[in-house]
């Protein structure tokens, strides 16, 4: 079977697995699953909306396999049901609103961290064993082992509350209506700086370590030695011979990182009250809005799978050996 077709089938299977978990979880919980799922909403909802909710979760009459198929088909037609909290707003609408903010914030943070992390990793590897290398790699490991909650809260405390340099919440000045005006964009940028810095702090370390290790492995390669023997300048060898090749595997981790963008930044968004997907998920958890929570899992899984697939495609393009192999 061709490589890419096999991967597509695998991703399809993974997606169905995530959907299956979504389907069976409420049924595995002790007690009446329907009652559990809708107990918080039952008192506020009119009976007919409760029926609609049950329908979107496949709680229809009939045997389990039939319920399961109903559920799967509704998902594959893009129907994630309706929110309990904001009934009758469809989950897809709710997620669509938040998507833009998250993609903007975390997308930027991921790209900045990728560039910065790869650069630091390159420098650390080039001067491996030096004091600079030790400082860079140890602090990279530290940055990845400090919880994002901690980084976000400390940043908010120091720069938001104590120094008052940045706003302490939301994506733009609530007095401004979203529009294509300079004032609005300035407000958005000002609100994004602190969450952006926090996310970069969390993400950069991982890229630094990956790049450093790839690069160290490559520095012993014949063509690098050859480049030096030719008398090329240090910088040229470092950037055009070693770093360019070391970057290839890092690009795949960038794609995967971009795939997690949708799930990304949950804690950061919650701490900075940023209206993205993560915060939507958090609000849904607080309200026990199960359709939204489950819809998020599916959307995030789909994003992960798509970006993994892009990595696969790029591998096939970059490494022709994969094309033939079974």
């Amino acid at each position: 079977m061709p490589f890419l077709l096999r991967r597509i089938l695998f991703y399809l299977a993974a997606f169905v697995a995530a959907a299956t978990i979504n389907f069976f979880l409420p049924r595995l919980m002790p007690g009446d699953p329907v009652a559990l799922m809708f107990s918080s909403a039952a008192s506020e909802l009119p009976p007919e909306s409760l029926e609609a909710l049950k329908l979107t979760f496949g709680f229809v009459d009939g045997p389990l396999w039939k319920q399961y198929l109903t559920y799967l088909s509704s998902i594959f037609t893009g129907d994630l049901g309706v929110s309990v909290k904001y009934f009758p707003l469809p989950v897809t609408d709710l997620l669509g609103r938040a998507l833009l903010w998250t993609v903007g914030l975390v997308g930027t943070a991921t790209l900045v961290s990728f560039v910065l992390g790869s650069f630091l990793g390159m420098v650390a590897a080039w001067r491996r064993g030096s004091r600079l290398d030790v400082v860079l790699s140890v602090s990279a490991i530290f940055a990845t082992s400090i919880p994002a909650v901690v980084t976000s809260l400390v940043a908010l405390f120091v720069f938001g509350f104590t120094l008052g340099w940045f706003p302490t919440g939301y994506a733009h000045d609530p007095a401004l209506d979203p529009s294509f005006s300079l004032a609005f964009f300035a407000s958005v940028a000002h609100h994004a700086i602190l969450p952006l810095i926090t996310l970069c702090f969390v993400l950069t370390g991982g890229f630094t370590v990956t790049m450093r290790n790839n690069m160290i492995n490559l520095l012993g390669q014949d063509y690098v030695v050859m480049a030096r023997a030719k008398g090329l300048s240090d910088r040229r060898v470092m950037v055009w011979y070693a770093a360019r090749n070391a970057l290839l595997p890092t690009v795949s981790s960038l794609a995967i990182a971009l795939g997690t963008v949708l799930g990304g930044s949950l804690v950061t968004e919650v701490v900075f009250n940023y209206p993205g997907l993560g915060n939507t998920l958090y609000q849904a958890i607080l309200a026990r809005d199960y359709p939204v929570i489950q819809g998020q899992l599916l959307v995030m899984t789909a994003a992960m799978l798509v970006s993994n697939f892009i990595v696969d495609v790029s591998y096939v393009l970059l490494d022709p050996r994969l094309k033939g192999s079974g």
Binding site: A14, S145, A148, V209, N213
Partner: protein, 296 residues
């Protein structure tokens, strides 16, 4: 093991990391001796700044922050080590069995492992935890253990594949040793450094993720742990009313434990693979940590 111990003593990173982790462990165990206050009881006025009486101040409900911090350390460490152990046991077992047996067994386990790897970990945890309802610490440890073993399985499998080609494994096979014996006594000791790094990395991941889940309100709010401290402080708007001690205390504790454990992990990696020196396998573990971190 003896070599590992000598290496640990010579390595400064290992020494500092071990000292930090042991210090936190010791403080957690000696909690009743280190404070006179009951961590759950109201012992002062709400949101008192640090003073001689309450060295880290009080919470919104008038509980002593220092008492909550050191009793909370018990929970965070217990969940971290329990979940870390579970993740390591499941991951190591599946990895060795898949790598050694090969064939259909390998295909099934690898398929399953890869599937778990592509389903985003944190949203999955959130969905499960939200259905469980206010999850106690050990329930969280169990959920973490059952959903986060895939990285360990993959890395251990890769290592097993190379170990099983070695002569002593072939020799054991010729002598007709049963498969389980080869896996347990020939393969396992030779992938031990991977297992160690897996374990410490998983502990870091579990501590961080438990705190995150509780901070998001998915834990049992009556349990005393660093995560619920953050949750309660955030709920009481501790930062905006200026009660920084309420929120910074658990923050610093979490950061300290994270740094201690990662120094230890760093050192184990260096000792196990002297050629790599500050690099190598640990890189794979940062991605495990990141799956609980950057992706949050």
């Amino acid at each position: 093991m003896g070599q590992l111990w000598i290496g640990l003593r010579r390595n400064r990173k290992a020494f500092i990391g071990l000292a930090i982790v042991l210090l936190i462990l010791l403080v957690a165990l000696a909690a009743p001796l280190l404070t006179e206050y009951n961590p759950a009881a109201r012992t002062g006025r709400p949101h008192q700044p640090p003073s001689a009486e309450h060295i880290l101040g009080t919470t919104r409900l008038g509980q002593d922050v220092w008492a909550r911090l050191i009793y909370g350390a018990q929970t965070s460490l217990a969940v971290g080590f329990a979940a870390g152990l579970l993740i390591t046991v499941v991951g190591t077992t599946l990895g060795i069995v898949a790598g050694y047996r090969g064939g259909k067994t390998d295909e099934v386990i690898s398929f399953f492992t890869n599937m778990v790897l592509v389903v985003p970990n944190l949203p999955l945890l959130l969905v499960i935890a939200s259905f469980v309802g206010q999850a106690g610490p050990m329930v969280i440890a169990l959920i973490l253990g059952l959903t986060s073993w895939a990285w360990g399985a993959r890395v251990t499998r890769a290592e097993t594949l190379s170990v099983k080609q070695r002569d002593f494994v072939k020799a054991a096979e010729m002598m007709g040793e049963p498969q389980w014996r080869i896996m347990a006594f020939e393969i396992l000791p030779n992938v031990f450094s991977i297992v160690g790094i897996n374990f410490i990395g998983s502990v870091i991941f579990a501590v961080i993720t438990e705190a995150t889940l509780e901070f998001l309100g998915l834990g049992d709010p009556n349990v005393i742990s660093w995560g619920t401290m953050l949750y309660n402080a955030q709920k009481a708007s501790a930062l905006s009313v200026g009660a920084w001690w309420d929120i910074l205390a658990p923050c610093l504790a979490l950061a300290l434990l994270g740094i201690g454990l990662s120094l230890l992990n760093f050192a184990v990696d260096e000792i196990a693979n002297p050629r790599l020196r500050t690099g190598g396998r640990l890189a794979r573990w940062t991605s495990l940590v990141k799956s609980g971190e950057g992706r949050l």
